[in-house]
């Protein structure tokens, strides 16, 4: 069995406490992972400043090239992992076995990570909006328009408390190393795989291992990470979001509540957009924050809900290795039933119709896991509880709501796709601060253009743009 150590600034540390990562379907142990402690992480963070010093010995361009090489290694090579090695196929199998995601989705997430690593120049250009990268390295410089600018690094490292069940989120921290900052990660208990494989690929590609720490462990490790890293990100529930909102040191990623808005000018042609809606709800097992959880329209909502139910309702739970599998398993005992119970409570409310009821039982319980087949609900108005819900499986409520009330009723929205050509309403949607990413036109909510900043720009989080004045006769000194 694989034994995976804590990594303390590149050095493996075998803990006396370990946890087993097991196959969700068979219960068979896959790996034994060493557990760090909060104190260990806190103490190691004393040396966090070294990471940036080490990485600044390389140019950003050099680091980008190394990360690009790491993408190839990540995707195609057998890489060291703990006391053994891991092939790309094993990575997919391991990730699927511990998270319940179908294998083809794991492969697809793998591709997504590789895309970001391979296209780091473009990604950074997008994140910095074209800033010359040496300005981030030196902290100051002159833009093409002849203005002195300064971007001051706010940290030497980025810490991240990673989730167990959403392997798609890793793209968010991948640009950190090229920005000459170290990484301190607490991998999710069921998904240590991506963090360890990326770290291994980075090392093989020539990035010094001393700039990366991997600290699997309990809640105390997460707490210590968030306390001792001056910039960190955490992935969690709405409770986590509420807990860290307003904390400038923590970027918190929670539920997305992503939505599709059908404008009055286009809603009569709703049938044209059903494929787009189905993809937005169903892709990646409905597990991402960018999956659509509500469709808003002022009319035809019952027909839209029925059409979505017709497409999504018959979908069955298939084994993870089946290329047609579209649903992810709930791997923790009792969670599938508990989620179903929550949905059922909401479905019983006045004004709510369960549109997938006629397509058979939604809860599929297996010996060691459970699946939830897609659920489509119709809500007669946005006040129905179900209109503000998001679940970790393909779930959507189609909400009847007048267009002029939609933005306010919809609330926080990570990705909003608006089908409209009404310029006044487009203006209102553009101004809506509750919508993070806005798509105008029939773009599925899940299709992120990586050349657009995502949910909290990493550059704004890690650097501070500040005044930096230099006398006219010294301008040449800062122009690089």
């Amino acid at each position: 069995m694989l034994e995976i150590p804590v990594i303390r600034w590149g050095k493996p540390y075998e803990s006396l406490e370990t946890t087993e990562v097991v196959h969700f379907n068979t219960g068979e142990p896959i790996a034994k992972v060493s557990s760090a402690t909060g104190g260990m992480l806190t103490r190691d963070m004393r040396k966090a400043g070294e990471a940036r010093k080490i990485l600044k010995q390389f140019s950003i361009e050099d680091l980008i090239a190394k990360v690009g090489k790491a993408a190839d290694l990540f995707e195609t090579q057998t890489l060291p992992l703990g006391n053994g090695t891991q092939t790309p196929d094993e990575f997919v199998m391991h990730q699927s076995a511990s998270t319940g995601l179908p294998e083809h989705m794991c492969r697809s997430n793998m591709q997504k990570n590789c895309f970001v690593m391979r296209n780091m120049t473009e990604i950074l250009e997008c994140l910095t909006r074209g800033l010359p990268l040496d300005i981030l390295s030196r902290g100051y410089g002159m833009e093409d328009r002849g203005v002195v600018v300064s971007f001051q690094a706010q940290t030497s490292i980025l810490g991240a408390v990673l989730p167990s069940n959403s392997p798609g989120v890793h793209t968010l921290w991948l640009p950190v190393i090229p920005l000459q900052m170290g990484l301190v990660l607490k991998p999710g208990s069921s998904e240590p795989w991506t963090a360890y494989r990326v770290a291994s690929a980075f090392e093989q590609a020539g990035i010094p291992p001393e700039v990366i720490g991997l600290y699997p462990g309990g809640h105390d490790v997460g707490g210590a990470l968030l306390t001792s890293c001056s910039r960190s990100m955490i992935f969690g529930s709405q409770k986590t979001v509420d807990q860290y909102s307003g904390n400038p040191s923590v970027q918190v990623h929670g539920p997305g509540f992503s939505k599709i808005f059908l404008g009055d000018d286009c809603v009569d042609n709703w049938e044209q957009y059903i494929d787009m809606m189905v993809e937005s709800v169903y892709i990646n097992g409905g597990r991402s924050c960018i999956n659509c959880s509500n469709v808003y329209a002022s009319r035809h909502t019952k027909e839209i809900a029925a059409a979505l139910a017709e497409r999504l309702g018959p979908i069955e739970a298939l084994p993870p290795e089946d290329p047609n599998a579209g649903l992810a398993a709930f791997t923790t005992e009792g969670v599938g039933a508990a989620v179903m119970n929550m949905v059922q409570q909401d479905l019983k409310a006045d004004g709510v119709t369960d549109c997938t009821a006629e397509y058979g039982d939604r809860l599929v319980e297996k010996e060691r896991c459970a699946y939830l087949r897609p659920i489509v609900a119709h809500a007669a108005n946005p006040e129905c509880e179900i209109a503000s819900k998001e679940f970790m499986f393909p779930f959507v409520s189609v909400v009847e709501c007048p267009q002029d009330k939609m933005i306010k009723a919809a609330g926080p929205t990570l990705v909003g796709t608006a089908i409209t050509e009404d310029m006044n309403w487009i203006g209102d949607l553009t101004d809506a601060t509750t919508i993070d990413r806005l798509n105008i036109g029939p773009i599925p909510t899940n299709r992120l253009n990586w050349l657009q900043p995502h949910e909290g720009n990493l550059i704004d989080f890690l650097f501070r743009s500040r005044a930096y004045q230099v006398p006219q006769d010294k301008l040449a000194m800062v122009s690089g």
């Binding site: 557990s35 104190g39 260990m40 004393r46 904390n247």
Partner: protein
Amino acid sequence: MSNEVSLDAAVAQAKDRLDQHTVEIVQRHFHESTGCPFWLGKKAELKFDPLTEIKCYDDLKKFPAFEDDWLRGGPVERWRMKDHADRPTYVFETGGTTGVPKSRVVVDDFRTDYTLFSKTLPDEYFPQGGNWLMLGPSGPRRLRLAVEHLAQVRGGISFCIDLDPRWVVKLIKKGWMEHLEEYKKHCMDQAITILTANHNIKCMFGTPKLIEGLCLALEERGTSLAEVGITGIFSGGTEFTPQWTRFCVEELFGGPPEESGIYMTPTYGNTLMGLACSKPVTAAEKYKISYYAPQPRAVTEVVCFDDYNTKVGFGETGRVKLTTLTPEFFVPGFLERDEGEREAPFETYPWDGVSGVRPFHETAATTTVGVY
């Protein structure tokens, strides 16, 4: 062979002593002239007469399981022994973050327990006459007075800081982690102020989290526990795991006692029990921590999850069951909220021990542990 024989003899002797002690304690608690109102009242509900039918420790199984709710609420005097009615009495509490805490009345027990515990501490690291720092929960807990007594028994004086664990639990439940950090810093600042004020403090009590916090805070200031003069630490709690001990010894202290000059001994206990001591913890044994109760005043057993009257085999896992048998307090068969592995007797403690103590798996998810 002779060692085995002598250990067997010691085990048998300890069992005889426990049986005899059990009978004496039960006689005290159920006799009209000495017993407390609670047990004298309970006696009427029992289907047997404790005065005639408890003849050895195993006979305690005749009692129904002890319910911790019996310890909640008043009047607290119902636990006061009749022949202690005119003695100065303390009340100590456990739990109590929400609802009514469990309480225990005490006259001398905490002093007796800690006097006995004192005899287990090596003078080399816990020097007689050395002063102490008590870095743990205060308020209604008995620990503050107990550590103070321990210091006094050893000829020293105990310095204390104020720490309210109930507030700490509330901070965690509310998710006020910034407040939690600030409160921790507030405690550390007080501790460091005392440690660096020339008070000849050599020994301390600290919970694992606070010891860790103190070491890290001292490091932050460019010093260490050894530099501020600490040589002996006693600590306790389910957070006291082998890995934590290893981290503490190897990294925070700078090595085992012979290298770092700091000796740390784990203990296991609470307000209801005395203080269970540990076998010496060493790197050679992978920092395994095995506790032994202060028999015959208290007994810990590791019992089956589905039958609390049957002990598990040595090395097997079960729930920790506690029995307290002091002249002031009688608790037969209290099920702790912990589980662990049953450990075999050895020369120093020729009775059962328990290792790997951790929160009982059925209640672990709802229990906030290691909060201070």
